[in-house]
């Protein structure tokens, strides 16, 4: 279980997180929604230690994320970055197998390549892309490669940061379905950040809305439409008028 208690983070004079409390149960798919610039990415980066919170406690299975063996901790996570974050200088298969080619999870090169090709197949890409460079792929293919990299070491917890941003609706649907299938078949805990409501309905077990630096509402995805919260209501229906200022 992932638990955030009273997490604060300020950049300069901009208080992004102002006391976030959130729990994600083991094997659950939690989707965090919220407007642009509300700190959704900062939230998951805080869990991974990429951003250091100013205050608050973040635990995974009861252990403080800032204590203990960092490599072992990060070995439990996979992450799909918003822009893919593929390494330009490495061919696709080495991107996917990055973790399997070095460090504590190191495997023989042939085996690492075979696993990478299998993960590429899992996300709908043929072995012919394995030796290409990321720059030679379309945006949708890069997202899939990034997804393959996130699941390559079969992590217990997977974070997806805006997985469908910049994709056409059909490719976005493909990525959503892949995420749902993979999370279900791996039994992984997933936290997805998005403001794409189609993704929310496709991926989520539970939804949390981040607004003004705090979790405004959280509940099962089935209850989202009847949340009774005017902020959630405005957001999920994409209304320009309501309690959330359109100009921020």
């Amino acid at each position: 279980m992932i638990t955030l208690s009273g997490v604060h983070k300020t950049f300069g004079t901009n208080a992004v997180l102002r006391g976030v409390d959130l729990s994600v149960a083991k094997g659950e798919s939690m989707v965090v929604i919220g407007g642009s610039g509300t700190g959704k990415s900062v939230l998951i980066k805080s869990v991974l230690g990429l951003v250091k919170p100013d205050a608050g406690i973040i635990t995974v299975d009861g252990k403080d994320v800032n204590k203990g063996d960092r490599d072992a901790f990060l070995g439990r996570f996979g992450m799909l970055f918003q822009g893919g974050a593929l390494f330009d200088s490495l061919p696709v298969w080495q991107n996917v197998a990055f973790r399997l080619l070095r460090g504590s999870l190191k495997k023989p090169k042939d085996l690492a390549r075979a696993i990478a090709v299998e993960k590429l197949r899992r996300v709908g890409l043929g072995s012919d892309v394995a030796d290409r460079l990321p720059a030679e792929l379309s945006g949708g293919m890069q997202k899939r490669v990034s997804l393959a990299r996130a699941i390559a070491a079969e992590p217990e917890i997977i974070f997806f940061d805006e997985p469908t941003t910049g994709l056409d609706p059909i490719m976005a649907g493909v990525i959503n379905d892949l995420i749902r299938e993979i999370v279900t078949e791996m039994g992984a805990t997933a936290v997805t950040i998005t403001h794409d409501m189609t993704s929310v309905r496709a991926i989520a077990d539970k939804v949390a809305m981040l607004h003004a630096g705090k979790i405004r509402w959280t509940g099962p995805v089935g209850d989202m439409d009847a949340s009774g919260d005017p902020y959630v209501d405005q957001f999920i229906h994409g209304r320009a008028t309501g309690p959330i200022a359109a100009v921020r």
């Binding site: 990060l74 996979g78 970055f81 390494f87």
Partner: protein, 258 residues
Amino acid sequence: MIGSLASLGAGVLGLLAAIGRLAAFTGQTISHLVRPPFYGREFATALLQIGYFSLPVVGLTAFFTGGALALQIYSGGARFSAEAVVPQIVAIGMVRELGPVLVGLMIAARVTSSIAAEIATMKVTEQIDALVTLSTHPMKYLTLPRVLAATLVMPILVGVGDIIGIYGGFLVGTERLGFNAAAYLQNTADFLEPSDIVSSLAKGAVFGFIAALMGCYYGMNSERGAMGVGRATKSSVVAAAILILAANFLLTEAFFSA
């Protein structure tokens, strides 16, 4: 008055903070030298990129500088009938000073800028964050291999630059200024001392360390966007060039002040 003092104080504090950050970054880089894991493949790639692929620019720079130096010494020396010292001055000038400094500055232009731009782009496209989530320390994977490779390969580049520079002077001396080839080489060999060569190679190692470290430091601390990458690249080259020239003065003082 108070406003001026406050500005001055803020400037001094900013400078000290920058020095502190750079010192911490340098210490962190060196500390990874003795802590596994080591990324041999990245080190080998850096050796190739910084060393082998810099040879053409180093060779051309040294060749033309050696030739020009011979012409300058000959025409300048003619003013007090000292044209004959061309081989000696070219040798000492190239090995003690121009070889290491010019190679250092060319490496700052070619390698520092490339490292800073690459790492800064990796930072703004979240590749550095991706490295961390893949249990790979960016300092170990990106910084240490480049800094170590530059420190080890620069003395070789400087040595090659020294030889090619002397050869440039030799060609101009023998083909254009009428020096006897054997006498030119003999004068060069007689005049150079082992300490000249040692100082040249030591300077190379220090300049290589500075050049790669500045590229990594500014790349890792780049701000967002294309402007951030551009600023990091520019700042890295300026900082590397200034630090190389400052280090050259200090090393020359240390080696040759009697």
